[in-house]
């Protein structure tokens, strides 16, 4: 049987999860009986060990993750509210009904006023909702901007220039990151009819091109996007953009409008 003094040097190894056999069983037994020395000791050790997390290479979570979490939270909050507030019969004494009836008779004006206020409240809620949606759209743009900037600025990103097939067209810039995917930026892009779209492809050294993203330049002719890349970087021969029917194609149906070879 080991005592606390013998176990103390093992707290961090326990928190790391490397202990096994007798040492681990002994420490677990102390924790199971809420040992006053070992319990805080292991809690402190967990704090130390948790800092090894900083050794993980930095990666950017996709922008969609935050939206998923927040919408799940909103949904669960609404469900809880519903559960916690079952319809209840109000307990209202008879004399109060009489007073209420008298008041209602006397103050027809108040009722009308209440209706106006209710309508105003509904209006306010609608306007708040619109403001909220506008804000979310801005937030999305901001998130995307941050993400594009993160890929562009990362020293691990490989910068590529996608040359246009037609020399009058602008150049498209790509930044290929081993974990975060590819960021694509361009300006002064020609506008496209609604029936057509641009599609980004990774062209492997062997095999068929793989679609990475379908996109449209915005009204100012700008493009900024980040798309995940599942193919290992060393297997990619080129990145290319082609013009495709709306909705994109499983395989390119036209020759690349922009292309960059990977060295």
């Amino acid at each position: 049987m080991m005592d606390c003094a013998q176990l103390a040097p093992l707290y961090e190894e326990f928190a790391l999860g490397v202990l096994s056999g007798e040492e681990r069983a002994e420490l677990e037994a102390h924790l199971a009986r809420s040992c006053e020395i070992c319990t805080p000791g292991v809690e402190k050790a967990r704090w130390v060990v948790a800092h090894l997390s900083h050794l993980a290479p930095e990666a950017q979570p996709p922008a969609s993750l935050k939206r998923k979490i927040m919408s799940a939270v909103t949904d669960s909050a609404a469900a809880t509210e519903k559960q916690q507030a079952p319809p209840r019969r109000a307990v209202f004494p008879a004399w109060a009904w009489a007073v209420a009836a008298a008041l209602a008779l006397v103050t027809g004006y108040a009722v009308r006023q209440m209706q106006t206020l209710t309508a105003q409240l509904a209006n306010l809620q609608r306007e708040m909702k619109i403001a909220d949606l506008q804000n979310r759209a801005l937030q999305d743009q901001l998130d995307l901007g941050r993400l594009v900037a993160a890929v562009m600025m990362s020293p691990a990103s490989k910068q590529l220039k996608l040359m246009p097939a037609n020399s009058k067209m602008p150049m498209v810039h790509a930044y290929l990151h081993p974990q975060m995917g590819v960021a694509l930026t361009a300006e002064q892009m020609p506008s496209l009819p609604a029936s057509r779209t641009l599609q980004l492809w990774s062209v492997p050294k062997k095999g068929m091109p793989l679609s990475l993203a379908i996109f449209h330049p915005d009204t100012q002719g700008q493009v900024a996007l980040v798309a995940p890349v599942t193919m290992p970087q060393e297997e990619i021969a080129a990145l290319a953009v082609s013009e495709e029917p709306a909705g994109g194609s499983p395989q390119p149906t036209s020759s690349p409008t922009w292309i960059a070879q990977l060295k």
Binding site: L55, Q60, M70
Partner: protein, 235 residues
């Protein structure tokens, strides 16, 4: 109808929390209604000047303020996702695990409050446990399917000093990285196998083809270096 005093919001006046309160408490009156919408637009796009502490955000989560969760997400999603992706190695699974960690934080805020430890290492601990569970499940294919849906998250208590601000945390992360980078490669690898792959002493020794005693002393030495790198915070 009296027009309430309305002047353009100056960032120097009041905190963001106060503005949100003003926006929320503006009711019904036509002018206030306009102000409420304007204020909301201002506060939601206004960058945080005074960063609320983790503890105050957790209090707000307990009061079911989802904006507080959003702020915590902005603060910790990146390091937590980096950790989980390093362990799980699959972006789609890492995304699911991180989503689960933050949803558990929302749902189990009371249980977190009970431990009252600093939030960042607690989040790391929970995220690491979840990601290692995922890794083990992936490795043990014969395990029954229902087990995979049942790895409940029991937040382990973490005790340590509360960092003063996000900068403090970032500084601590930088210290850890630079001190650990100076460890000899095999020692660092042994620690990484234990932390990111969830291996025991025996498994690390077998994977690296090194004697058990050597691996134990590497890991113990590495942990000591880690403790030193955390410096005065670890009193």
């Amino acid at each position: 109808m009296m027009a309430p005093a309305w002047s353009p919001v100056q960032p120097a006046v009041g905190t963001k929390a106060e503005l949100i309160h003003m926006a929320c408490s503006s009711v019904l009156l036509e002018e206030r209604k306009r102000n409420a919408i304007l204020l909301l637009a201002v506060v939601q796009t206004w960058p945080e000047g005074d960063q609320p502490s983790d503890a105050s955000l957790m209090e707000r989560i307990l009061a079911r303020d989802s904006r507080a969760l959003e702020l915590l997400y902005d603060r910790y999603a990146r390091p937590v996702y980096s950790l989980v992706l390093r362990i799980a190695q699959q972006p789609a699974s890492a995304e699911e695990i991180v989503q689960d960690v933050f949803l558990q934080l929302w749902r189990n805020a009371k249980r977190y409050q009970a431990t009252r430890g600093p939030l960042e290492p607690w989040l790391f601990t929970v995220a690491r446990n979840r990601a290692l569970d995922f890794l083990r499940l992936k490795r043990e294919k014969q395990r029954r399917r229902e087990d995979s849906d049942d790895f409940s998250i029991l937040p382990a208590a973490v005790a340590g000093p509360h960092p003063e601000d996000a900068l403090d945390q970032a500084r601590r992360g930088e210290q850890v990285r630079s001190r650990m980078a100076s460890l000899p490669e095999p020692q660092r690898r042994a620690l990484e196998l234990a932390f990111f792959e969830g291996m025991t002493h025996y498994e690390v020794a077998a994977t690296m083809g090194e004697p058990l005693g050597t691996v134990k002393s590497w890991i113990r030495g590495g942990l000591q270096r880690l403790r030193e790198s955390l410096g005065e915070g670890f009193a």
